[in-house]
Point group: C2
Chain length 229, copies 2
DNA sequence: ACAAATTTAGACAGGCTTGTCCAATTCGTC
DNA sequence: GACGAATTGGACAAGCCTGTCTAAATTTGT
């Protein structure tokens, strides 16, 4: 025994208690997504989590509370992933195009295409109308802050002379729209794009983005273009 | 009596038979979208359609058949709207930016934001996994042909010297992604953007699109740009 | 090894839904 | 006005699901 006794004597959570709770939430996320809230069945969730039905009720009380727990869990993890990824935005880019493509791929892989991202998106689409306040929280902390943070990064790149941007918020939304442009249908059907599809969409999107927003340079052959009102 | 007797003497459909069928399908679309397939309840559909439950069964036989009828109906109407709208694409544009914005607004208003568009999208997102072959049909006839048709129009504009495009298919997908960039969240929650939001998103999207793809002109006047290759 | 807490399997009531059946009624047509 | 088809409202069985309860089995901490 390598843990000091006496440090946490009271209400020490039994070992697998929390582990089972996590299993249940994970299984519930999967079943809620596959079957919808109304179609999800507690027996199936219990079976998929490898616990008995009663355990599900012991931990979460009620189908609706379980659903809320699932959404909160997914929201939290997704937002954490989003901010970790935004933190990797290229501030002093060596090769702006390559850096933006890599960033877009990371964003897709870690936040949008992964299990949590796909599940959360589907739950929002399917049940968003039924739990407005639950998803309002997501909306504010997730996409709202994502766009702001991204806009701030773009503004910085513009200030540093790498981009020529009118409204950074618009540019941020358009950036995300562009790098996902070719994945829309796959997302709509709940599918998972291949690594190659993600890369191609990001590449095409970033190239178009830079065609629109790259600082107009005056290379040797075109030196006169910059003088313009 | 202006119809020749004897032409269709047998099984002549009574007048309001078809009207009720339509009512039922419309109500079913609404309820399936709001509640999901599993949560949709035939009594509610019947009530919302203003008919008795038995009539629903008389017309469509079965919950699943009713669902299929709803999806086919929505798919058909949406595709019809899409092609009508694509036909209004500006081929010989007077003012390319204004024409593309107007086209984007029409596309949004008539195909994506309207009742059928929102309903179909939600059903695809929620139940796409459960009826792959049903939505495969939509996928092929809807977005697939939309993109091809749009790509062909862009290629034509490029050939006429109005745009400078690498891959027309990519440009078509990016065009749609850009003009919807600011409506994503609203769509995700199943909401209906205001006319002003649609216009703003389209305007911002088209401007960025043209920044990336407009034929590069020589800024002096614009007289020299055409002599090229 | 012992005691407490947790988990399990199963039964169970209550409620809701689907799909069918049927008699009474309404509607459209002649 | 009369006929036939469609519609209605309601009853009905069968099935499924939620949420509770219980007693037995298992796990956990000491």
């Amino acid at each position: 025994m390598f843990m000091k006794p006496g440090v946490s004597p009271d209400t020490f959570p039994p070992r697998s208690h929390e582990a089972k709770r996590v299993s249940v939430v994970d299984a519930a996320a999967s079943v809620f997504c596959r079957e919808g809230y109304a179609g999800a069945n507690i027996d199936l969730i219990a079976a998929e989590a490898g616990v008995s039905r009663q355990t599900v009720y012991n931990h979460h009380g009620d189908k609706e509370k379980l659903f809320v727990a699932v959404v909160r869990d997914l929201t939290e993890r997704c937002n954490a992933g989003i901010f970790a990824t935004i933190a990797s935005f290229p501030d002093q880019p060596a090769d702006l195009e390559a850096d933006l493509i890599a960033f877009a791929v990371r964003m897709n892989r870690n936040c949008i295409c992964n299990r949590d991202g796909r599940f959360l998106r589907k739950l929002i689409q399917a049940e968003g109308g039924r739990y407005p306040e639950l998803f309002a929280e997501w909306r504010e902390h997730g996409p709202g802050r994502t766009w702001s943070a991204l806009a701030a990064r773009f503004a910085r790149l513009a200030f540093a002379g790498h981009l020529s941007i009118g409204d950074p918020d618009v540019a941020a939304r358009q950036f995300l729209a562009l790098v996902n442009a070719e994945l829309q249908i796959t997302f709509m059907l709940g599918g998972m794009p291949t690594e190659e599809e993600v890369l191609r969409s990001a590449t095409n999107g970033v190239r178009t983005f830079l065609s629109a927003f790259a600082r107009k340079k005056s290379p040797a052959g075109k030196q006169a273009a910059l003088v313009h009102a």
